[in-house]
C-alpha cells in the first residue's frame, strides 16, 4: 500500500537538516553545537529509513544502525573534548578557539 510518499519523507529530512545546520552556525555554546549536530545526524537517518522503506529493502535500516553507532561515539568523544575545553578556557564559547586564524 502506498502510505507515505518518498518525497515527503525526504522533504522532512531536509527541513530537519536545515534546522540543525542553522543551529551549528548560530550557537556559540559548544554543547549546543553538538546538539545541533545530533539533529543533523538524525535527519540523515530519517532519509535513509525513508529510502529503505520505499524500496522495501532492509539496507536503509542497516545504514541507520551504522549512523547511530557513529553518532554515539562522536558524542562520547565530543563531550570529552568539551570537558577539556571547559577546564582550560573556563568557558564553552567556541569563538575562544580561534588560534587557527589567518
Amino acid at each position: 500500500m502506498n502510505a507515505i510518499p518518498l518525497e515527503h519523507v525526504l522533504i522532512f529530512a531536509s527541513i530537519l537538516f536545515s534546522i540543525g545546520f542553522i543551529g551549528v552556525i548560530v550557537r556559540k555554546n559548544t554543547l549546543f553545537m553538538l546538539m545541533s549536530l545530533e539533529v543533523m545526524l538524525n535527519s540523515v537517518g530519517v532519509a535513509f529509513i525513508g529510502a529503505g522503506s520505499a524500496w522495501q529493502q532492509a539496507d536503509g535500516q542497516v545504514m541507520f544502525i551504522l549512523i547511530l553507532t557513529l553518532a554515539a561515539s562522536e558524542v562520547a568523544v565530543g563531550l570529552a573534548l568539551l570537558i577539556q575545553m571547559h577546564r582550560r578556557f573556563k568557558s564553552l564559547n567556541i569563538d575562544k578557539l580561534n588560534r587557527m586564524r589567518g
Binding site: 556559540k28 553545537m33 569563538d95 578557539l97 586564524r101 589567518g102
Partner: protein, 629 residues
C-alpha cells in the same frame, strides 16, 4: 666634394657651430677653476673662430655658381622615406644670419667679458652665452625642419637660463619662466605645423619642402593656409609679436649683454628667419601673409605707444625692439623679403649698440635704470652719449644711416604690395613717427637736462667704461655705414609670384617717408622741452590711469591673467586630488576591499568555516541545477 644635390660640401661649414660648443662644455666642467682671463679667452676665442669661419664661408659662397653650400655630418634618423640628417645648408640668407650672429655675438661677448667681470658666476654666464650661439647657428644653418626645431628649442632654453641668470632674485626667475611658457605656446603651434607639413608633403628637408609645395599646391591651398598659420604662431612667440609679446619687457631682468644679444639682435629675429626661410609655403597662402603684415603693423603701433611712457631705460629699448621686429614682419607680409632681412641685419647693429651703451650707462650709475633718476649724462659721459646718439639716429632712420636704407626699403614696398596696401603704409609711417618721439624722449631724459643722479666717476669706473667702448665703437661704425653693404638675396627668394609694381604709386610717398622722423624730432623738441632743459624743477613720471595702462603693455598682461592664468589656477585647485588618479585608485580600492573580505573570513572561528562549507554546497548545487535544469 659634391653631394647628391650637386652642391659643394665644405668642412669649414661642418665645424662652424661647434667651436662654441666645445668651449661651453669646457667652461661648464671647469667652471670655478678657471681664471677670468682663461674663461674670456676660451669663450671669446671660440666665437672668434666661428666668426672667421663665417667669413670664409661667405667668400666660398661667392665662388659657387649656385650660391649654395651644404654639408652632411651624420644621419640622425629616418621616418619612412624621409631622412633626417644633421646637415647644414648655406645660402645667401643663412650666410647673412651667421655673419650677424657670430659677428655681433663676438662683439657682445667681448663687451660681456668686461661687463660681467666681477660677477662670481662669470664662467657659467659665458658658457650659457656660448651655448646660445651654438643653438642659434644650428637654427639658421639647419637644412631640415627637425634640426631647425632643435636649434629653436635650444635658443629658448638659453634664453631661459640667461634671463634667470641671477636666480637668487625671485623676480628674475619668474620673468624667465614667463618667457619660456609664452614662447612655448608658439613652439607648440610650430611643432604642429611642422608635423602637418610632414604629413602632407612627406619630407623634412627645407629645400624639398619648398619645391614640393610649389609643385603640388596652388595658391590658396587649404593645407598651405593652416601650415603657414601655425608656423606664424611659432614665429610670433619667438619674436615677441602680438599676441605673445608679453614676455619681452619682463625679459629685461637679465643682464644687459643678454638683452643685447638675445632679445635684440638674434633670438627674437629667429621668427623672422623662419618665415623668410619658409617663404615657399607662405607665398602659397596669401591670406596668411596679410595676417603677418597686419600683426606686424599692430605690434609696431602698440609697442611704440607703450615705449612712450616707460620709465626704465631697458624697457624702452625692449618695446623698441618689439616695434622694429614688427617692421620686419610687415616687410615679410608684404612680400619684401630682402628688405625684411636687410632690416634684420641693420637692426642687429644699432639695437646692440643701444643696449650695450645703456649697459655702460647703468654700470656708471651703479645699476640705476630709472630714466627719471638719470639726466645730464651728456657732460659726465660724453662718449657714451655720442654712441647712444648714433644708435638713435639709426633707429630713427635719418638719411645716410643704415637704418635709413633698410627702413626705406621696407616702406617703399608696402603701398603696391598685393598682400599689404595703403593702410599698412600709413601704419608704418605712424610707427616711424612714434619711434622718433619715444627715441627723443629717451635721449632727453637720460642724457640732457639736469642731472638727477651723481655719476660716480672714480678711476675704476672710468677704466671699465673705456674697455667697454671698443666693441661699442665697432658697432657704431657698422650702424652708420652698414647700409652700404648690399645684400643680394635674389637667389633665395623666388620673386616670380610677387612682383611689386611701383609705377602706379603716388609721387609723394617717398618724400613723406623721409620727412616723418624729422617731424617727430621737431615735435619732441618742443613737447619735451622741460626734459632737455636744465631747469630747477624736478621731473616726475606721469601717473594717470591712461599712462599706467600703456606702461603695462596696454593691458595684455592683465588680459592673459584674467582669461588664462586665473581659470587655470582655479582648475588646478579644484583638481587638487586629481580625478584621473582617483579613477585609477578605484582599482586598488576594489582589491583592498576583497582583501578585507577574505581576511575577515579567515578569523579562526569554527562557525564561520561551517557556514562557508554550507555556502559552498549551496553554490555547487545551484551550479548543478543551473546546468541541468
Amino acid at each position: 666634394m659634391i653631394d647628391s644635390y650637386g652642391f659643394f660640401e665644405s668642412p669649414t661649414l661642418a665645424l662652424l657651430p661647434f667651436y662654441p660648443l666645445i668651449s661651453f662644455l669646457l667652461l661648464i666642467v671647469f667652471a670655478k677653476r678657471l681664471s677670468w682671463l682663461q674663461v674670456s679667452f676660451l669663450s671669446i676665442g671660440a666665437i672668434a673662430i666661428s666668426a672667421l669661419s663665417s667669413l670664409v664661408m661667405l667668400y666660398q659662397l661667392q665662388t659657387q655658381e649656385l650660391q649654395i653650400i651644404t654639408v652632411k655630418l651624420w644621419s640622425w634618423f629616418s621616418v619612412g622615406h624621409a631622412e633626417v640628417n644633421i646637415s647644414f645648408y648655406l645660402d645667401a640668407l643663412s650666410s647673412v644670419m651667421i655673419m650677424v650672429v657670430s659677428g655681433i655675438g663676438l662683439l657682445i661677448h667681448i663687451y660681456a667679458a668686461f661687463y660681467m667681470k666681477t660677477d662670481e658666476n662669470f664662467s657659467r654666464f659665458m658658457a650659457y652665452m656660448n651655448l646660445f650661439i651654438v643653438a642659434m647657428l644650428i637654427l639658421v644653418l639647419a637644412d631640415n625642419l627637425v634640426l631647425l626645431y632643435l636649434g629653436w628649442e635650444g635658443v629658448g632654453l638659453c634664453s631661459f637660463l640667461l634671463i634667470g641668470f641671477w636666480y637668487q632674485e625671485k623676480a628674475n626667475v619668474l620673468a624667465a619662466r614667463k618667457a619660456f611658457i609664452v614662447t612655448r605656446i608658439g613652439d607648440t603651434a610650430m611643432a604642429i605645423g611642422l608635423l602637418m607639413l610632414f604629413n602632407t608633403l612627406g619630407v623634412f628637408n627645407i629645400v624639398d619642402v619648398n619645391q614640393t609645395a610649389q609643385n603640388s599646391w596652388q595658391a590658396g591651398n587649404d593645407s598651405a593656409y593652416w601650415i603657414a598659420l601655425l608656423l606664424l604662431g611659432g614665429a610670433v612667440g619667438k619674436s615677441a609679436q602680438l599676441p605673445l609679446q608679453t614676455w619681452l619687457p619682463d625679459a629685461m631682468a637679465g643682464p644687459t649683454p643678454v638683452s643685447a644679444l638675445i632679445h635684440a639682435a638674434t633670438m627674437v629675429t629667429a621668427g623672422v628667419y623662419l618665415i623668410a626661410r619658409m617663404n615657399g609655403i607662405f607665398l602659397l597662402a596669401p591670406e596668411v601673409m596679410q595676417y603677418v603684415a597686419w600683426l606686424g603693423a599692430f605690434t609696431l603701433l602698440l609697442a611704440g605707444i607703450a615705449a612712450l611712457v616707460q620709465t626704465d631705460i631697458k624697457r624702452v629699448l625692449a618695446y623698441s625692439t618689439m616695434s622694429q621686429i614688427g617692421y620686419m614682419m610687415l616687410a615679410l607680409g608684404a612680400g619684401a623679403w630682402s628688405a625684411g632681412v636687410f632690416h634684420l641685419m641693420t637692426h642687429a647693429f644699432f639695437k646692440a649698440l643701444l643696449f650695450l651703451t645703456a649697459g655702460s650707462v647703468i654700470l656708471a650709475l651703479h645699476h640705476q635704470q630709472n630714466l627719471f633718476k638719470m639726466g645730464g649724462l651728456f657732460k659726465k659721459l660724453p662718449i657714451e652719449t655720442a654712441l647712444f646718439f648714433i644708435g638713435l639716429i639709426c633707429l630713427l632712420a635719418l638719411p645716410g644711416t643704415s637704418g635709413f636704407f633698410s627702413k626705406e626699403a621696407i616702406i617703399t614696398e608696402l603701398w603696391s604690395s598685393p598682400t599689404a596696401g595703403a593702410g599698412l603704409w600709413w601704419c608704418a609711417i605712424i610707427g616711424a613717427l612714434l619711434t622718433s618721439i619715444y627715441s627723443c624722449r629717451l635721449f632727453f631724459l637720460a642724457f640732457l637736462g639736469q642731472s638727477r643722479k651723481e655719476v660716480h666717476n672714480t678711476d675704476g669706473i672710468g677704466d671699465e667704461l673705456s674697455r667697454l667702448r671698443f666693441p661699442l665703437i665697432i658697432l657704431a661704425l657698422l650702424s652708420l655705414f652698414g647700409g652700404l653693404i648690399s645684400l643680394d638675396l635674389s637667389s633665395v627668394f623666388i620673386t616670380n609670384t610677387s612682383i611689386i609694381e611701383h609705377s602706379k604709386e603716388p609721387r609723394w610717398l617717398h618724400p613723406v617717408a623721409i620727412i616723418t622722423p624729422f617731424i617727430g624730432i621737431v615735435f619732441s623738441w618742443f613737447y619735451f622741452k622741460r626734459y632737455r632743459q636744465n631747469t630747477g624743477i624736478p621731473i616726475v613720471e606721469s601717473q594717470t590711469a591712461l599712462v599706467q595702462f600703456c606702461r603695462n603693455g596696454l593691458g595684455f598682461d592683465s588680459l592673459f591673467d584674467l582669461f588664462i592664468v586665473r581659470p587655470y589656477c582655479w582648475l588646478a585647485k579644484v583638481n587638487r586630488r586629481d580625478i584621473v588618479d582617483q579613477v585609477i585608485m578605484l582599482n586598488a580600492w576594489y582589491i583592498s576591499l576583497w582583501n578585507d573580505v577574505l581576511s575577515t573570513m579567515q578569523n579562526g572561528k569554527l562557525r564561520w568555516y561551517a557556514a562557508a562549507l554550507g555556502l559552498g554546497v549551496v553554490c555547487f548545487a545551484a551550479a548543478l541545477l543551473g546546468g541541468n535544469g
